[in-house]
Every structure is written in C-alpha cells, then in structure tokens.
C-alpha cells in the first residue's frame, strides 16, 4: 500500500479537471479515476467531491448529461468544456512552476 498523502488545498479542482479530461465520467467514476491516476496515494472523502463538481459546473468548466453506467445505473456524466480544457492547461502549467520553484527552494544547500 502506497503511503497516503494529504490533499493540498486548491488541488482537488485540478485533479477533477484532469480526471474528467481523460473521458466523460460520473461522480463515482471521477473518484475512482483519481484514485487510479494518483496510484492510490491521494484519497478524497467521497461526499466532498460533489461540492467541487458543482462549483466547477457553475464556473462553466464542466458540462453535465444524464446517462447510463456500465452496470446499467442512471448517473450524471461530467465532461470538460472548452473553458475547462483551457483552465486545465493553465492550472497544470502553474502547478508545474510552483512545484519546480518549491523543489528548488527546498533543495537549496547552505552556502
């Protein structure tokens, strides 16, 4: 079992956008996919996913549509909008810059 990491504030939205960008998914599916792509290192409290999904929908980053799941249950599917795709790209770049800067800073040696 991989070591559990804590979710940094503000990263949930980015994770959701990433997960949905891999293909339309319902809420539970998004949760599973996040678990999958983080290698199980990040877990999210299940209920907390929905406020985030609604927020992104409200911002016009996600689009929704009712459909049927693999095991024949009615579920609401989320899809990335064009604005969502743009946001994912921007936020990914920003995240990478932050990580780079943080890593550099934390690895700095005493002179």
């Amino acid at each position: 079992v991989a070591e559990q990491a804590e979710l940094l504030p503000g990263t949930l939205d980015l994770l959701i956008l990433k997960a949905v960008s891999l293909g339309p998914e319902h809420g539970y599916g998004v949760l599973l996919r996040i678990e999958q792509i983080t290698g199980g290192a990040l877990t999210i409290e299940q209920g907390a996913l929905y406020p985030a999904l609604y927020r992104l929908e409200h911002q016009g980053l996600l689009d929704t549509e009712w459909g049927t799941s693999d095991n024949n249950r009615r579920a609401k599917y989320y899809r990335l909008t064009t604005a969502g795709r743009r946001r994912l790209k921007q936020d990914t770049e920003r995240w990478n810059r932050t990580v780079l800067a943080m890593t550099t800073a934390l690895n700095a040696q005493e002179a």
Partner: protein
C-alpha cells in the same frame, strides 16, 4: 435542481455499493450501509453543493424569513404592536405622498414636462399674475425660438343645461390650438381644432368633459351633434374629450370647452384688461432659463412701446407642474410639499423608534437564544440576517397595511367637498400609482434598516459564555441598551412636543387671522348664490324674479334684512377694473390704479354691517337705477383724492371709460384673505347701483336673528316657490365662506388640521413608547422591587420609584422638545413671517398636556409594580 442533486448522490452511493459487493463480498444491505458511511454527511455536502451553485442566497433568505415568521408568531403581542406601529407610521406617509403626488403629478398629455405657464410680474408685487391682456399673447407668441407653440385659455363658470337640468359648471374658452398643443385626443366626435381658426372661431360649439358626459348624459353617444344650453344660449356638441384629460387646472375639473373668440372679442386690443391664461410648450432642447431670456427681449420692447401699461411689467415662465392652482404657488408649493412629507417622515421615525425599542427589549430576552446559536456555530452574519429578516417582515406587513390604510384615507379625502366652493366640485386625484408604490417600498426599506440593524448588531455581539451561564443579570448597572432605550423614549417625547408646538403655533396664527376685523359682520348671515343667466332669464325677468325673492325672504320670520350683490366677499370671483380720477392723468391706466368693482342693492351695507364713513348709502330708487354714482372704500378715497373730501368727486373705470361716476359715499374697506398671509390692506373697492349691472348672477345676503344654517332649507324652498327652475348654485353661511372656502381660510385651515393630526399621532406613538419602556423596566426589575417590598417598602414608595423614572424621561424629552420647537418655530417664521414662535398659551399648554399624559401613562406600569408579590419573584430565581 434539488431532486437532481439527491438523485445524483443516491446514484453515487448505489455505484459504490455495487463495487463493495464485488470487492468485499458484502450483502447488498451491508454494502449500502458501508457506502453511506464512506460518503459522509450528505446534508452538509448538499448544503455546500447548493452554495457552490450560487443558490444559497435565496435558500437562506427563504429559510430566514420562514424562521422569522415562526418567531413572530410565537410572540403575537410583540408582533401586533410592532406591525401596527409601523403601519401607522407608513400610512401617514403613504397618504401624504399620495396627496403631494396627486398635486404635482404631470398632466396626462404628451411630454408634460415641456409645458409651461406664463405669468406677469407687476412692479414690486411678488405674486405672479397668470391673467394676461390679450395683445400681449400676440406679442409673446412671436418668441418662436423658445416655444413650440403658445395656446390660450380662460376659465368660465356657467350654468350648463343638458337633459333639462341646469348645473353650475367650470369650463374653458380655448384657442384653436389648445388641444393640439397639449396632444389631447377626443373620446368621441372632434375637439376645437386649429382649423376652427386661431381663436377657435365664433360658432357656438362645445366639447364636453368625459366625466360630465358620464355624470349627466349617461355616456349617450347620440349627444354629439345635438344642442345643449350654456348660460342659457344654445351650443352644438361637437365631441367628448378623452377620459384622462380634465383640463389644464389641477384642483377643479373642466366640464366643457368652447371657442375663445367670443370671450375675448371685446379685449383684443385692450392692454388694460387681463382676461386670458397662456400655456406653452417649450422646444425639447430649450431650458426654462433660455425661454425666460427670450421672453425678456419682448418684455423690454413692450416697456418701450407701451410705457403706460407695460412700464413695470415683466413676463415670467413657470413649469406647469408647479403652477397649480396658479403660478403664485410655484415659489411656495415645493416647500409646503417638502414640509408635509418631512412632518410625515418624522412620524414614521417616531414609530420606528418605538419598534426599535421593542426589538431591543426582546433582544435582551433573546440573548440566551442568540448565544446558543453562536455556540452551535452560527456566524455573526447569520445572526444579523435573522434579526434583519424579522425587521423586514414587520416593516413589509406594516407597509402593506399602512399603504392600504393610507389609500383609504386619501380616497375619503378625495370625496370631501369643502363648503364655500360655490357649488363647484373640487376634483383631486390622490389615487395610488407606481410613484406611491415606490415611495412606500423605499419607506419599508428604511424602516427595516432603522428597526433591524441596531438590534441585529447588538444581539450578534452578545457574549456567549456570560449569557449562557445566566440569562438574567439583575444587579448589573444599566447596560448600553437601556441607555439607548431611554434615549429613544425621550426623543419620541421631544419629537411629539415639537410637532404639537408647531401645530399649536399654526392654529393660534389661524385663529388670530380669522378673528381679525374683516370689515363686515360675518355672523348671522346666510348666502345664496343664484344664476339667472343660466336659468335663461332676460334682464326684465331677472329683475322681477330677484325683486320677488328679496321681498319674500325679507318677509320670513327671524330674518332681519336682505341684500343682493353681484360679487361676494371671499368668493372666487373678483371684478378687477382700472380706475382714474377726474383731473388726473389722461389715460385710464396711467396711474395703474386697479380696483375691485361690485354692484349692490340698497340694503347691502346695512345687511353686511359695513360701517359708513362719509356720505350716504344708496336709496332703493338709486339702487334700481343706472345712475352714474358710486360708494367707494376709504382706501380708494385716499388713493384717488389724498387729503381731500371724496364726496362729489368723479372718476371713471374700465367698465365704461366714457362715463364719469360720482362718489356719493365712503365706507370701510372689505378685507380679503391670502392664505396664511395676514390681511393686507385690500385694493381700492367701489360699489355701483345694482340697476347698472350687466350680469344676471346674484348673491343674496340674509341677515338672520337665529343661527343662519337653520334657515337654509326654508330659504331654498321659498326661492323655489317663486320659480322652481331657478338655478340655486350654493347656500352657505358667511362664517363657512370665510373659514372653509379656499378663497377664505380653507386651505390654511386644512394645513393646520393636518399638522394637528400628525402632532396627536406623534403624541400617541410617544405614549405607547413610554408605556412599553416602563413596563419593560418594571418587568426586568421585578426581582429588585420584590426584594424592596419584602424588606418593607410601602406601595407608595415603589410607585414613586417607577414614576420618578418615567417622568424623568418625559421631562428630559419635553425640555429637549421645547428647545427644538423654538428652533423649528424660527424656521417656520422664515416661511410665514407673521407667526409668533413664542406663543405663551402654546408653550405652556403643550408641555403641561404632555406631562399629564405621560404621568397617566406611567401610572399603569407603576401600579403593576406595587402589586408585585415578593414571594413569587424570589422563588423564580
């Protein structure tokens, strides 16, 4: 939305359960249970989700209002008191605003804001005169660069006979472009139009007002093309004016419109007689100042060309909306309207102060509840919102009730017809419209803020721990809330003192004005207005009927004497003519002495008890004759013949410029009122024998030995027995004519009544506030009082404590009120210079009245305090 969300979350749980059944080999039930546990607090996430969607605001608002509603229902007494108080405050404002709005709202015509009224300013006289000589209309009409057009109209009062019935009606003689300038359309047929000629033509045609058509002709469309009689002469009805338009006068309503030309044909070149009114429409981009500038150019030219008539004259332009009933109102009306709204606003402020202190009192009771909510995690903003929602509910319900009550009151006022209107209907439109609605809604908002904000901030600041530990702190010194409530009570009392003192000052002033010597004895005098012209009498018939009436009335028991005249004092009609003394300037208007003429019977001076100064009165033979003789007022005598004896001197007048009239007597002047202004020295007056009058309109004066109103019906039936068809316009006592008619003190009196009513309302609210505050104090200190009683304090000692407290507040309020009233009185003096702000009667009566009322009010809670059972209060701890 909401069900959508529930379904989605349910789907999540089912999907998870499906997974769990496979992965962990759980039964369906176990799997579902597990899935729910993993999901967490569904409601919490739902709430967050709603917030994320931006729905939260309405959701919360709805919840707050529902919660407040439940709270308010829990305390019905509190809710009722608060709502009624606000309703009272708002009703006064809604009513007052409806009145102001009815007075000032634009005419129902095209672009009413472009309409202006022209009026002449003469020399140093500050009052503009809307009546203008006809030639000047032609002069000013050429100022086409500022005005789209100018139109002319003049008011007419005449008997209108349709369907065999003659009623006295107000109408207008209008120029051909009058309706087209206004943009008024006919409801039926056609109106007087430019094609009829510039001055409407000479054809006897008539257009009827819509409401006259409804009232007297039952909407009979066949009336168009038929003949009806106006002042006894036949006119052909050409059309009905549209329903909304009631004439270019706001207080009355014009029932008919006839061409202008016959009314002015004798004055077309006469610059001495001013019979017409001018209404104009500004070009869209032209301002009032620009229009005035272009008028001034003409004024200067006229001064050079006609120095004898126009030497000191200028024409001013007024916005039509402020010229109601005429332009002299333009300078006063906005102030009076503002003052009335301010007074009403002050009543609402007092009402709000009352409700605010109720809220504060309850806020203390609810400290525990608020603390509990804070402890449970409610944010400060949430607490503030709950309090505001309550205040809003109360203000809104109060607002709806108040506005409804206000519109009832005004619709009642609309129907009130003051006496002394000479049988004319007063038409006012105080109906609700969107302006009143907007005003009422903004008042509700203000009231919400006034009432809700402070308690909201207060209770949200309550310390959690202290309040939870003990909901009652009895021995602590007065917290800030008490001081604020005490201040509010004192402020309310001060407010009502100011109100009552101002109302009292106005009342005293009016009483003083009314008690002044008017130059005649107004008591025991009955007036009867008869219109023989509209009845269709010719001169001979009129003379014989009037003589018969006078003889018959004189023979009645308890009648002392009877007289007749054409013009009556404090009536709406004045016969203004220019006069010049023999041997003075050549031109009649050279000295510009304007006098009021009248035609009277022999008994006139005797019946009205107008004191003679010199010479003789008319004999019966004189009065029936056409002799060129006159009795003049003392003011006229000194004006025309200073330092000389007027008897035997001669003068001529604008009535007939060729005839010299000899003075046979001098009498004291008859005064006239100018609203709240004092009775200024009246203009010169002269009286000619009735026989020379062209008019067939009469006022009969009946001096009675009994109260005059008791004879009214007898007089009516006696006159009817001489000729059942005679048009009796109006029967009233002289006292009514003076005090109630708009030409007397009627308008001033209405103003005083409004001020007194508002003052009493303010007093009532202040007393309710005092009572509430004191009751609360007794309730809160029941514990302490109980201990005192247990320790042997007598009933009177307890009474004294409570009374001292209440009366202390009242005294502070009264003292502050007197100081404020002195300032307000000074302010009043700038509008009405003759009001004395230091009236000893008012300044002693009002404080005494207030303190007495406050004392009585305080007695109720004080007596309650003496009945406190120590054992019960001590036990409740």
């Amino acid at each position: 939305m909401e069900s959508d969300m529930a379904e989605e979350l349910q789907a999540h749980i089912e999907l998870r359960a499906d997974d769990l059944m496979i992965r962990s080999r759980l039964t369906r039930e176990e799997a579902l249970r597990q899935a729910r546990l993993e999901f967490g607090a569904v409601e919490k996430y739902k709430e967050e989700a709603r917030e994320a969607r931006g729905l939260r605001f309405f959701d919360q608002l709805y919840a707050d209002i529902r919660y407040s509603w439940r709270q308010l229902r829990k305390y019905p007494a509190f809710t009722l008191a608060a709502t009624l108080t606000i309703a009272l405050g708002i009703s006064v404002n809604a009513a007052m605003f409806s009145i102001v709005n009815g007075w000032l709202k634009p005419l129902p015509v095209e672009n009413p804001d472009e309409l202006v009224v022209l009026a002449a300013m003469e020399g140093k006289n500050p009052l503009p005169n809307p009546l203008i000589p006809f030639p000047e209309y032609i002069d000013y009409k050429d100022v086409s660069d500022a005005f789209k057009d100018l139109a002319v109209w003049t008011g007419l009062l005449s008997g209108l006979t349709a369907d065999g019935q003659t009623t006295r009606a107000a109408g207008g003689a209008v120029s051909g472009n009058y309706f087209s300038l206004l943009g008024v359309e006919p409801a039926m047929g056609r109106l007087i139009a430019p094609v009829d000629g510039e001055f409407g033509g000479t054809e006897p045609v008539i257009a009827l007002g819509y409401s006259y058509w409804v009232r007297h002709l039952a909407r009979d469309s066949a009336v168009v093309g038929k003949q009806i009689r106006l002042g006894g002469s036949p006119y052909t009805v050409i059309g009905i004016v549209s329903e909304e338009f009631r004439g270019t006068t706001s207080l009355g309503e014009l029932d008919f419109y006839v061409p202008l030309e016959p009314a002015v044909k004798d004055f077309v070149r006469n610059r001495d007689v001013a019979p017409i009114r001018i209404i104009g429409r500004l070009k869209p981009e032209v301002t009032l100042a620009q229009a005035q500038a272009s008028l001034d150019i003409v004024t200067n030219r006229l001064r050079r060309e006609h120095p004898e008539t126009n030497g000191k004259r200028m024409m001013r332009v007024f916005p039509e909306r402020l010229s109601r009933p005429d332009p002299s109102a333009a300078t006063v009306l906005p102030y009076v309207a503002g003052l009335l709204l301010l007074l009403a606003g002050a009543v609402l402020a007092i009402a709000c102060a009352n409700v605010l202190s109720l809220f504060l009192v309850r806020g203390i009771g609810r400290r525990g509840e608020m603390a509990m909510r804070t402890a449970l995690g409610a944010s400060r903003w949430q607490l503030v919102r709950v309090c505001l929602a309550e205040a809003f509910l109360i203000a809104a319900i109060g607002g709806i009730a108040g506005t409804t009550a206000g519109s009832w009151a005004t619709s009642f006022l609309e129907r009130v017809q003051p006496a002394g209107m000479d049988g004319l209907a007063l038409h006012m439109d105080f109906g609700m419209d969107w302006r009143v609605m907007v005003y009422a809604m903004s008042l509700v908002t203000i009231a919400t803020a006034l009432v809700g904000l402070l308690p909201a901030l207060r209770s949200s600041r309550a310390g959690t721990y202290d309040s939870l530990r003990s909901s009652r702190t009895s021995n602590a010194p007065a917290p800030p809330t008490h001081r604020l409530r005490h201040f509010l009570v004192a402020a309310q009392i001060a407010g009502s003192v100011v109100f009552l003192i101002l109302a009292g000052l106005l009342f005293q002033h009016l009483t003083h004005l009314e008690s002044l010597d008017l130059g005649f004895a107004r008591d025991h005098l009955l007036l009867v207005d008869i219109d023989g012209q509209s009845t269709g009498y010719n001169a001979t018939q009129a003379l014989s009927v009037y003589t018969a009436i006078e003889t018959r009335l004189r023979s009645l028991p308890s009648v002392q004497s009877v007289a007749q005249s054409v013009v009556k004092p404090f009536g709406g009609v004045i016969l203004n003519v220019n006069i010049a003394a023999e041997g003075g300037e050549d031109s009649l208007s050279a000295e510009r002495v304007l006098a009021q003429a009248n035609f009277v019977s022999a008994g006139f001076f005797n019946t009205l008890a107008i004191p003679a100064i010199r010479g003789s009165s008319f004999t019966d033979e004189d009065a029936a004759s056409v002799k060129p003789i006159a009795i003049v007022s003392d003011i006229m005598a000194t004006r025309l013949w200073p330092n000389e004896d007027a008897i035997g001197k001669r003068f001529r007048s604008g009535i007939d410029t060729e005839r010299w009239i000899e003075v046979v007597g001098v009498v004291k002047s008859i005064k006239q009122s100018e609203g709240f202004q004092p009775l200024k020295p009246p203009p010169p007056q002269f009286f000619m024998p009735m026989g020379s009058a062209a008019s067939r309109i009469r006022t009969f004066y009946v001096r009675t030995l009994v109260p005059p109103e008791s004879l009214a019906s007898t007089v009516r039936s006696e006159i009817r027995s001489i000729d059942p068809n005679v048009a009796i316009n109006h029967v009233a006592t002289m006292e009514q004519q003076v005090t109630q008619s708009p030409n007397g003190f009627g308008i001033a009196r209405m103003f005083v009544y409004i001020a007194v009513a508002l003052g009493l309302l303010a007093l009532l609210l202040a007393l309710v506030g005092t009572y509430g505050a004191l009751s609360f104090m007794v309730g809160e200190q029941a514990h302490e009082i109980g201990i005192r009683i247990a320790l042997g304090a007598s009933g009177s000692a307890v009474l004294k404590i409570v009374l001292q407290h209440g009366l202390g507040l009242a005294l502070k309020g009264v003292a502050a009120g007197i100081v404020l009233a002195a300032l307000a009185g000074r302010l009043l003096q700038t509008i009405m210079p003759d009001v004395s702000p230091f009236d000893p009667v008012v300044l002693t009566t009002v404080p005494l009245l207030l303190l007495t009322m406050a004392f009585v009010t305080c007695l109720i809670p004080a007596r309650k305090a003496t009945r406190i059972q120590p054992i019960l209060t001590l036990k409740s701890e």
